[in-house]
């Protein structure tokens, strides 16, 4: 402890922070939960001698944290609490460990793992320490750090923030004249940050920090801010994700979850009736109010009598604004198009096929799979079933329609209910094309789309049910791979035929947000969370449990819960951009101060890709140089699930 520290101002605190990496002196505290503080120390009698400290304190294991920490239940309230060390604060209990970080020592820090992991480096490529934020993420802290330290985003890796050195001559110059500083274009961010700091020195309780002059800049000219090589980073990332056994599970009481708004009930409604549907068309046969139709379908699905027709709209075969005449012409045109494509492959001779292995492979897989698709339904049952033949023909024509994608297992599952309903080869094909447009990325060659979705599912789950998310993380299930089947074929293997028709038509509306099926998954996981976490279940047990839910899910209840969850998320105070972007909600730029919004747009790792491109970039191939920690974590956790 310092000698005679007088006053401590808490500026920031966040609990539920796991110590992931630490100097050897703190090895025993690794993987334990604690609280991170930033506070300001004022030495006795010297009012100008203020110093900022970052400190992580292990939660005291003897304290019933549930009770003790309740008053701090909100993450990142910048509090102006004055206290002294002698006060009986729970975190100052003897038995707790603490780790102090001097701001002067931080040379750079890295934000990764969807803003959940923060690692400080001391410039000698030795990590000072790393933290995993179990509740929410480190966005707030990083916001604080950006104000306290002078940082710029590394040019090579946007996840790395480089702290500009103090005492450098460049800084002196900088201080003398802003204009004299020759900032490069790509260092705009730095410029903005500096400007912001000058103009807006973190008013309020942080005002004092701005005056503390122990942070200085190094000019961006000349010196390369990247102090860590890629290899070192890589090894640090992989080490991070190495499954060090977690200790102290029993007292990891989650004590300060950000509060979600109360969950509301959203009762399901009756299906869209034929009468309602017909009344929506004008004299030209155009739908008048598409939004309200979609909303009705989202709320209750479609009555079976009009399903065949409505699906053609839902699956973008018929444009929503088309007239009777348009549709008549469209059908003729599409019909012709279909049979041309079908003829293309039907006319391939055996000899050609033998010399065309890419084609032969696809055909072989289609034939194998149609013979294993929904054979228990009467429609597809029995030997030499004509509908199985049609199923195969449509899939083969799809291969010709999109040869690069070809046929991937799971597609026959997606087509089967469509053909069952339409009972028409041409209509089924074009509806299937529409469905595939919605789920195309599930079938990516490198499975990037599936990996991305599993990652997104994890993000959403940690927002809604951090206890379960945390549990899964610690039991080698963080990759969420046990939900693979759910997401690949949209619950086709989990629901019976009647339910799947209803479920899909609800999802096809695209209401109330993007990726609603992920919220449905969250709803199920949350519903089953107790069973999932029983008996210290690991990956094997959880996979088994999830696979065996097939046929036991209550679809309407799932939809109801998922909508409740959606509304909770939408109204949550701590809603982050990472969650927003998954659900297609407008991004706000999760920042402490609104004025930073503009300036940080280009460089902040928290900003998600532009929403105007509906498919966000796959998490694992952002570019070919950068290592995505998610990707590594994903592979790692899969492989470690067996160990």
């Amino acid at each position: 402890m310092e000698t005679e520290p007088d006053e401590y101002h808490d500026c920031f605190m966040q609990d539920g922070v796991l110590l992931k990496q630490a100097p050897s002196s703190h090895m025993t505290a690794l993987n334990t939960i604690g609280t991170l503080y930033i506070y300001e120390v004022t030495r006795s009698g010297e009012s100008c001698n203020k110093k900022l400290l970052l400190e992580w304190k292990q939660n005291d294991i003897t304290v019933d944290s549930d009770v003790q920490y309740q008053e701090w239940a909100v993450v990142n309230t910048v509090q102006k609490r004055i206290r002294t060390l002698s006060e009986n604060m729970p975190e100052h209990h003897n038995r707790s460990k603490s780790l102090k970080i001097n701001f002067d020592e931080i040379k750079s820090f890295k934000v990764c793992n969807k803003n959940r992991q923060l690692t400080f480096y001391d410039g000698t490529s030795e990590r000072i320490c790393g933290f995993l934020f179990q509740h929410g993420n480190c966005e707030h802290l990083v916001g604080m750090l950006k104000t306290i330290l002078k940082v710029g985003v590394s040019r090579r890796d946007k996840q790395i923030y480089v702290v500009y050195d103090s005492n450098s001559p460049e800084f002196q110059e900088l201080n003398r004249s802003f204009a004299a500083l020759n900032l490069k274009n790509e260092d705009n961010s730095f410029w903005h940050m500096f400007k912001h700091f000058k103009e807006n020195p973190y008013e309020g309780s942080l005002g004092a920090f701005a005056k503390v002059t122990n942070f200085v800049y190094r000019s961006v000219e000349g010196s390369d801010p990247d102090i860590l090589s890629r290899d070192e980073l890589y090894s640090s990332i992989t080490e991070l994700d190495d499954g060090v056994p977690h200790s102290g599970g029993e007292y990891e009481v989650i004590n300060a979850l950000p509060q979600l708004p109360r969950r509301k009930e959203f009762p399901r409604c009756n299906p869209l009736t034929e009468e309602q549907w017909r009344s929506q068309f004008n004299s030209l046969g155009q739908l008048e109010d598409v939004d309200s139709i979609k909303n009705l379908i989202f709320r209750g699905g479609v009555s079976p009598t009009i399903r065949k027709e409505v699906w053609k709209f839902l699956l973008d075969y018929f444009p929503w604004d088309s007239t009777d005449l348009d549709r008549q012409q469209l059908i003729n045109k599409k019909n012709e198009e279909y049979y041309v494509m079908k003829l293309q492959w039907k006319s391939i001779s055996q000899k050609q096929e033998d010399n065309f292995s890419d084609y032969a492979q696809r055909k072989c897989q289609v034939i194998k799979d149609v013979n294993r698709t929904d054979r228990t339904l009467e429609f597809y049952a029995g030997d030499n079933n004509i509908n199985i033949q049609t199923l195969g023909d449509i899939l083969m024509t799809y291969v010709m329609y999109n040869f690069d994608l070809g046929y991937v297992q799971g597609m026959s599952d997606l087509l089967s209910p469509i053909l069952w309903l339409m009972q028409d080869e041409n209509d089924s094909f074009w509806c299937f094309v529409g469905f595939m447009e919605k789920v195309m990325s599930n079938f990516d060659i490198d499975q990037a789309g599936m990996k991305e979705q599993l990652t997104q599912l994890r993000v959403l789950l940690s927002f809604i049910d951090p206890v379960l998310a945390n549990y899964l993380e610690k039991h080698d299930c963080g990759n969420m791979f046990f939900c693979f089947r759910w997401l690949l074929v949209w619950f086709k293997r989990e629901l019976n035929q009647d339910d799947i028709l209803r479920f899909w038509e609800v999802l096809w509306t695209g209401y109330p947000c993007h990726n609603f099926h992920l919220l449905v998954s969250v709803a199920i996981l949350e519903h089953e969370s107790e069973a999932l976490m029983e008996n210290d279940n690991g990956f094997t047990e959880i996979l088994k449990y999830i696979n065996e839910l097939s046929g036991k899910l209550n679809m309407e209840l799932m939809l109801n819960k998922a909508e409740g969850i959606y509304n909770q998320i939408k109204e949550a105070d701590h809603l982050t951009d990472s969650v927003r972007s998954i659900l297609g909600l407008p991004l706000i730029g999760t920042k402490n101060r609104g004025s930073e919004e503009q300036s940080s747009q280009q460089e902040s790792p928290f900003e998600s890709p532009d929403l105007s491109t509906p498919r966000t970039e796959p998490c694992c191939s952002v570019d070919n140089v950068r290592i995505s920690p998610d990707e590594i974590a994903f592979e790692k956790s899969i492989s470690s699930s067996f160990l």
Partner: protein, 209 residues
């Protein structure tokens, strides 16, 4: 809760899509065959506990999707396997040719001392046979592994196949165990509870009672 077995072995079924992996597994675990089977999506496993020379052995057998596309995900499971069944379809030449690729896949992804075995399935379909028994045997010899022709449908030698693989794993394991408990200090060195960062061998992950 007391364990009801002495050893837990993790096995893996691999081979081209449609060769009958899921059916072989279903035959072994439920002694049934179902013509209305569905293709495997993702992964799944089945459990059967067998008696082998007085030991109860719990077999946890993993079944994967066969299509190339899903291999990035399924190969991750090779690493934990102690035994791998390589399955082809005797009525499908291509599935036999692909065994080579599957073996390469194993070499790249599984631990070096994993026990392997070659299965030629659908052997009751004699009239449609494209791969002779001899070729199967020959290939197995080449790779130094055992070979059996099976039929999930007609229930031919499926039990035998799994028992053989399990016995080979057990023998290998007990031999290593003996070696491990003999060195000067003695005592069991292979414990499931000891965290091992990069196991070179599945033996270090065996669950012992």
């Amino acid at each position: 809760m007391a364990k009801t077995y002495d050893y837990l072995f993790k096995l893996l079924l691999i081979g081209d899509s449609g060769v009958g992996k899921t059916c072989v597994l279903f035959r072994f675990s439920e002694d049934a065959f179902n013509t209305t089977f569905i293709s495997t999506i993702g992964i799944d496993f089945k459990i059967r506990t067998i008696d082998l020379d007085g030991k109860k052995i719990k077999l946890q057998i993993w079944d994967t999707a066969g299509q190339e596309r899903f291999r990035t995900i399924t190969t991750a499971y090779y690493r934990g396997a102690m035994g791998i069944m390589l399955v082809y379809d005797i009525t499908n030449e291509k599935s036999f040719e692909n065994i080579k690729n599957w073996i390469r896949n194993i070499e790249e992804n599984a631990s070096a001392d994993v026990e392997k075995m070659l299965l030629g399935n659908k052997c009751e379909l004699e009239e449609k046979r494209q791969v002779s028994r001899e070729r199967g045997e020959q290939l197995a010899i080449e790779y130094g592994i055992k070979f059996i022709e099976t039929s999930a449908k007609a229930s031919i030698r499926v039990e035998e196949a799994f028992f053989t693989l399990a016995r080979d794993i057990k023998t290998k394991m007990e031999k290593k165990l003996k070696e491990a408990s003999n060195p000067p200090k003695g005592g069991h060195q292979l414990r499931a509870s000891e965290p091992q960062k990069k196991p070179t061998s599945w033996l270090s992950r065996c669950t012992l009672l």
